[in-house]
């Protein structure tokens, strides 16, 4: 009886996956379906650059089969969680491995340039084409961890890619008016998204990545807003809106909060919804 129970239990055991961010968690859930149990360390509303390492996260990873990292030094904190978990069997996957990267520094970088990532801009999941690549990486590792489910994972990946392709087609048509739209972002989170949908990033509220805006930079932004007739500052919900609000006062520009991750805004509860939400909120500013 006990043996039967153990066998049934092992047959129904799910692959346990822990991810650094909610974006990877959502894609892993989509690819893994019923055969995986997925938990994200960072919440969608959190800045993925800075996550306080808590021992409770180590317990989550201790019980996991797979850890999915964003990579490109975005989630450097993940390594401390992985080490602290003492999980000898954990499969660690860097989801950036097959991504075509943007903004790889071509000269020596140092702290005077702000928080520059030496392997390129790490916010690659914001391009839906990269979502398909992430899905492929995840399908591969899930197939390794659970060979019996390989066909299901690859079939789920095929469906996921098809959904992205069909959405991309409709997004291109529906949001064609966004092409060439000039805007200011708070932080350099959006180059992949901007490239895909043809946005024109004029400047950032941060003078350098991770550096708070200075009075002289604010003056520059005011001039740029007036010169280029920019109507929108787009920011992530976790940044202070003090400087953007000052720019609103001075120029009448509009602030919008975009979803940099799944769950960052209430209407961005899945990967597809997140991309759709960001396009929709940008379009509304044109109306």
């Amino acid at each position: 009886m006990l043996i039967v129970a153990l066998v049934l239990n092992s047959l129904s055991a799910k692959v346990s996956v822990v991810t650094s961010t909610t974006d990877l968690a959502d894609i892993a859930s989509t690819i893994g379906g019923e055969r995986v149990k997925v938990v994200s360390i960072a919440r969608g509303t959190q800045d993925p650059h800075y996550v306080e390492v808590l021992p409770s996260y180590m317990i989550k990873v201790k019980r996991a089969d797979i850890y999915l990292k964003v990579g490109m030094e975005l989630d450097r904190w993940a390594q401390q969680i992985i080490d602290g978990s003492r999980n000898r069997k954990l499969i660690i996957v860097d989801c950036s491995a097959n991504i075509p990267r943007l903004e790889i520094p071509t000269r020596k970088i140092d702290a005077s340039m702000g928080d520059i990532h030496r392997f390129g801009n790490p916010h690659y999941w914001l391009d839906p084409e990269n979502g398909k690549i992430i899905g492929s990486t995840i399908a591969e590792v899930l197939s390794e961890a659970d060979p019996a489910g390989a066909n299901i994972f690859w079939e789920n990946h095929r469906k996921f890619s098809k959904t992205i392709d069909s959405n991309l087609q409709s997004w291109r048509e529906k949001y064609a008016s966004l092409r060439g739209m000039k805007l200011i972002f708070y932080h350099n989170t959006w180059p992949y998204f901007a490239n895909r949908f043809g946005l024109d990033i004029v400047q950032f509220v941060e003078p350098k990545p991770g550096i708070m805006p200075t009075p002289s930079h604010i003056e520059t932004l005011i001039s740029l807003i007036r010169e280029h007739q920019i109507n929108v500052i787009a920011m992530e919900p976790y940044f202070s809106d003090k400087a953007p609000k000052f720019l609103v006062e001075k120029t009448g520009i509009e602030i919008i909060e975009m979803a940099q991750s799944v769950g960052a805004r209430s209407l961005a509860n899945s990967y597809i919804e997140m991309i759709h939400y960001n396009l929709e909120i940008l379009k509304k500013t044109l109306e």
Binding site: R43, T45, Q46, D47, Y50, E52, L54, P55, S56, M58, I59, K62, I82, D83, G84, S85, R86, N87, R88, L90, A111, D115, G210, I211, M212, Y238, S240
Partner: protein, 365 residues
């Protein structure tokens, strides 16, 4: 032409491989200022150099050197190997010279103190640079639903020393001068202990919800030579962090030093905490810190010793911190009032500018 190309390729690949295998190297420096009714003193505690990285897929190494400003002497504060993944039974191992897992403050580096200076009773008990010694530490995660860790450390030197080698100098010399107490600034040059000690810690971490957690610890320290004393303690930390830049943290610790018998070897903490080498001495500290926004934090610290230099001691400090550029540089100010026995209260103002070059930071949000 082809040879030049090959040479360039080799140089490029060598430089790449060196970059990728180099450990993270950081430098931390500071400037301390203390003012009271009579004087203003500027000092620096020198330079801390940290090198940290993986030795292989299962182990990492951490090295912390301290170059003292006064005489340029270099101390190995810590140099140890940690094996965290790869051992059976959820075991972890540290070996080398390090700060054992005993209480909360013993593992915290001075540059992370919001309150600038460690409390004097804590320094008197653990050592001016906290307790560091050659030794080995084995820890395991208990098979419980929450994070529960047991650590057992076997160390060469007991607590209460300067925590560094025989050529060492007092890292907190500047700090101690700031207290302006001749008796307290007297330091022992000789290393102490060398009898072998063991320490035990049982800590538990509970995530109360998405934004708050509590950590508790039970600690015990015993010298292998039973004529030496024991130290027992409890600690607690609570943190509420609703978003990236706001938090509320409370941390406290109580330690009791007891059961000592008279012996010839003088120790720093014995001199200060128990002149009779008998009975018990209780010390405690507690602090509260509020991270108000990205750049400002403020809080207070209190500490207590039932006996320090033959008299009860306690102090109260208010502190404020300013971190203008992320975690790389911090300006801190502390207003400090000490009460020692029947002496008049001593008031002082302490300022600190601390900076870092590299990933080892003086401040975490």
């Amino acid at each position: 032409m082809r040879r030049t190309f090959v040479l360039l390729t080799v140089i490029r690949s060598l430089s790449f491989s060196q970059t990728t295998v180099n450990p993270d190297i950081s430098f931390l420096g500071d400037l301390l200022a203390k003012g009271d009714k009579e004087s203003l003193a500027l000092s620096t505690s020198g330079l801390e150099i940290a090198a940290q990285g993986y030795v292989n897929p299962f182990a990492r190494a951490d090295l912390f050197l301290h170059i003292h400003d006064s005489e340029g002497a270099v101390d190995v504060e810590e140099a140890f190997l940690t094996v965290e993944r790869g051992l059976p039974l959820n075991l972890g191992l540290r070996a080398g010279k390090f700060r054992p897992d005993f209480g909360k403050i013993n593992r915290e580096h001075a540059h992370t103190y919001h309150y600038i200076l460690a409390s004097l009773p804590v320094q008197a008990l653990l050592g001016e640079e906290m307790w560091s010694s050659p030794g080995a530490e084995l820890s395991t995660l208990a098979p419980l639903p929450w994070y529960s860790k047991l650590s057992l450390s076997a160390m060469q030197n007991g607590m209460g020393g300067h925590g560094h080698d025989e050529h060492s100098h007092d890292k907190n010399e500047g700090n101690r001068e700031l207290y302006d107490d001749e008796k307290r600034s007297e330091k022992k040059e000789e290393d102490n202990g060398n009898t072998g000690v063991v320490a035990f810690r049982f800590s538990n971490f509970f995530e109360l919800n998405d934004i708050s957690h509590i950590e508790t610890g039970l600690n015990h320290y015993r010298a292998i030579n039973e004529s030496e004393g024991t130290v027992s303690g409890v600690d607690m930390k609570f943190k509420w962090r609703p978003d990236k830049y706001r938090s509320f943290t409370v941390q406290g610790e109580v330690m009791q030093n007891s059961g000592k018998e008279e012996h010839e070897e003088e120790k720093y903490h014995e001199d200060h905490l128990s002149e009779e080498h008998e009975g018990t001495t209780t010390i405690a500290y507690g602090w509260l810190n509020m991270q108000i926004n990205k750049v400002w934090n403020a809080g207070f610290i209190v500490d207590y010793a039932s006996e320090l230099d033959e008299a009860p001691y306690n102090s109260f400090g208010l502190f404020v911190g300013f971190s203008p550029v992320e975690e790389s540089s911090v300006l801190r100010v502390r207003l400090h009032q000490e009460y020692h026995g029947d002496e008049d209260p001593v008031f002082s103002v302490v300022g600190q500018l601390i900076w870092s070059l590299g990933p080892h930071k003086p401040h975490r949000f």
